[in-house]
């Protein structure tokens, strides 16, 4: 009888593994299939309009399907920066400090840089990035360069670039002065805060399949909300906004 239960359990585990593999394979396929299908649909719609010569209509349809996917691609709409700011203000609450926990083996600098830029644009002041192998920490200059590049790409020539300051080990001092215009980019390694002015992360977005914090800031995450996104690769603004919306609806009783 025990053997039978053991066998049944193993079968269940195998089914779940297969299901997981199928879902991630399909997800990749569907994404590329969806975008190809949409491109073809758009192309077929555009052709008669192009022939008819309605430039405004063309511009409208040229816009990528999900306006939320990346506001910076919106043509003729409000400035992307304003759009991000308005998205941030429309949320009931915005985290002051957000953490990105990457549990995937191979991190993507561009995608993380995008996330950082979007967070800054929406009004988040402190961003922590963590991965189990300290890859981002060891290559922080590469990440900073990528952030600068993506800022130019996503914001265009609109307004002043955001000021990013890099802290490591919590031992660097955090400047109090120009809090509004300055964004601090933080890597935490120590368990106890060096600078009192850095608040605990209210939200941590975990990317990847591993359901664990893998050692991320144990002291600081006492009241942190965790939101799970399957992968940081090709993560969109919509994914980030979705996580922020979910966070804004969380209610904490803090023991009461």
């Amino acid at each position: 009888m025990v053997m039978l239960y053991g066998l049944l359990w193993r079968l269940l585990l195998l089914l779940v593994h297969v299901n997981r593999a199928l879902v991630s394979w399909l997800r990749v396929r569907l994404q590329s299939w969806k975008s190809r299908l949409w491109e073809r649909a758009m192309a077929s719609l555009l052709l008669p309009l192009a022939l008819a010569g309605f430039p405004e209509q063309q511009k409208k349809l040229n816009r990528t399907p999900g306006a939320d996917d990346n506001p910076s691609h919106a043509n003729g709409g409000p400035s992307p920066r304003l759009r991000y700011i308005s998205d941030g203000m429309s949320l009931q609450k915005l985290p002051v400090h957000i953490g990105f926990l990457v549990t995937e083996e191979e991190p993507s600098y561009t995608d993380i840089a995008n996330l950082v830029v979007w967070c800054m644009a929406v009004g988040i002041s402190y961003i922590s990035v963590y991965d189990n192998h300290d890859i981002f920490q060891k290559n922080h200059s590469r990440l900073l360069k990528e952030i600068e590049r993506q800022q130019r790409h996503l914001m265009g020539g609109d307004g002043h670039p955001y000021n990013v300051e890099f802290l490591s080990n919590g031992s660097d001092k955090c400047h109090n002065g120009k809090k509004k215009s300055k964004v601090t980019f933080v890597f935490f390694v120590l368990f106890f805060p060096g600078a009192k002015t850095i608040p605990d992360p209210e939200l941590v977005v975990k990317f990847g399949p591993v359901d664990s914090t893998l050692g991320f800031l144990p002291w600081h995450i006492r009241l942190t909300e965790f939101i799970f996104v399957p992968s940081h690769r090709d993560v969109s603004y919509k994914d980030l906004l979705g996580a922020l919306k979910l966070y804004s609806s969380c209610q904490q009783r803090v023991g009461q």
Partner: protein, 311 residues
């Protein structure tokens, strides 16, 4: 199979509200569910369970609710003492983790009796976090280390991540493999933050009093799916800690050699011997300190029991 599962038993009050019950009844149902879950864990051969029964933050609740919870705890601990033979038969060891000084004296005494009565049982372990927060636990561990340095039992250079772990309330237990939180909230709420850094976290939306065997199986399945990657991360972390310790030992040894040396450069053989000697001495110091700490904690429970019998 996980060897140690931790539960944040959340959702008693919401359950009571949905079912038009008094809050106190919700908590009672929650306790019944705990008893049931412990039986399931025993059947699944999970030898250790830790539960978050009462947080220091929960003292902020209404006096009525807090008193109700204290009464419930009193009842249950007294009941446990009545079941002493049964506990011995099944080898159940009960530990209570938290700042017990915050509790009413009679409850502290009941807890002390239960803990001492089951101290030597070793088949299964139930850790109840009562008047507990993880930050308090970590701060307390650091305070104990400071005490150790003050007493000359250890040096400040002996303090390491491993030693902090040995000073936590949970020092007799391995870290949890799996942490389950019910009721849909996705935060840790100051529970075992240090110990669950490499645990599988499972958040389930079911309310605690409605928890079922299948919910438990679902959580265990998730643990098994994550097992390999988490093991890998744990190994990596352990290796990193070991290399940090070795580096620290080398540094201390070099300092000592410089201090006691006669200015001449030492050869590799002497350095290696000195290093091994230093490590042996450090480990002995740490063991003595931990024994003293254990004695201090046991004395706390013994004193409570004596007070109870003389009262």
């Amino acid at each position: 199979m996980p060897k140690h599962v931790a539960f944040i038993m959340d959702g008693n009050r919401r359950f009571a509200h949905i079912n038009n019950m008094e809050r106190q009844d919700g908590h009672t149902q929650g306790f019944n569910k705990l008893a049931e879950t412990l039986r399931w864990c025993k059947h699944l051969n999970i030898p250790e369970v830790t539960v978050y029964a009462f947080s220091i933050e929960n003292f902020k609740r209404t006096q009525e609710e807090v008193d109700g919870l204290m009464d419930l705890a009193r009842q249950k601990f007294e009941r446990l003492l009545e079941e002493r033979e049964n506990l011995e038969k099944h080898g159940v060891c009960i530990r209570v983790l938290g700042d017990l000084n915050l509790l009413p004296l009679d409850l502290q005494q009941a807890i002390a009796k239960a803990v001492l009565a089951t101290k030597n049982h070793n088949k299964c372990f139930l850790n109840v976090c009562f008047a507990y927060t993880s930050r308090y636990e970590m701060t307390n561990a650091v305070r104990e280390l400071a005490w150790g340095v003050e007493q000359g039992l250890i040096r400040s250079s002996d303090v390491s991540e491993t030693l902090i772990t040995e000073c936590l309330y949970s020092n007799k237990s391995p870290n949890p493999d799996l942490l389950i939180r019910t009721s849909g909230e996705v935060r840790l709420s100051d529970f075992l933050l240090w110990q669950t850094s490499h645990s599988c976290l499972v958040f389930q939306s079911v309310l605690w009093p409605e928890y079922s065997f299948w919910n438990l199986c679902e959580a265990i399945l998730q643990y098994q799916l994550n097992h390999k990657s988490i093991q890998k991360a744990r190994e990596l972390h352990r290796e990193h800690q070991a290399s940090l310790q070795l580096e620290a030992d080398r540094l201390c040894t070099a300092e000592e050699l410089q201090h006691h040396g006669n200015g001449k450069p030492t050869d590799a053989h002497t350095r290696q011997e000195a290093l091994l000697h230093y490590i042996t001495c450090r480990e002995e110091r740490v063991q003595n300190f931990l024994t003293a700490l254990k004695h201090k904690r046991d004395l706390f429970f013994h004193d409570l029991c004596i007070e109870a019998t003389t009262a």
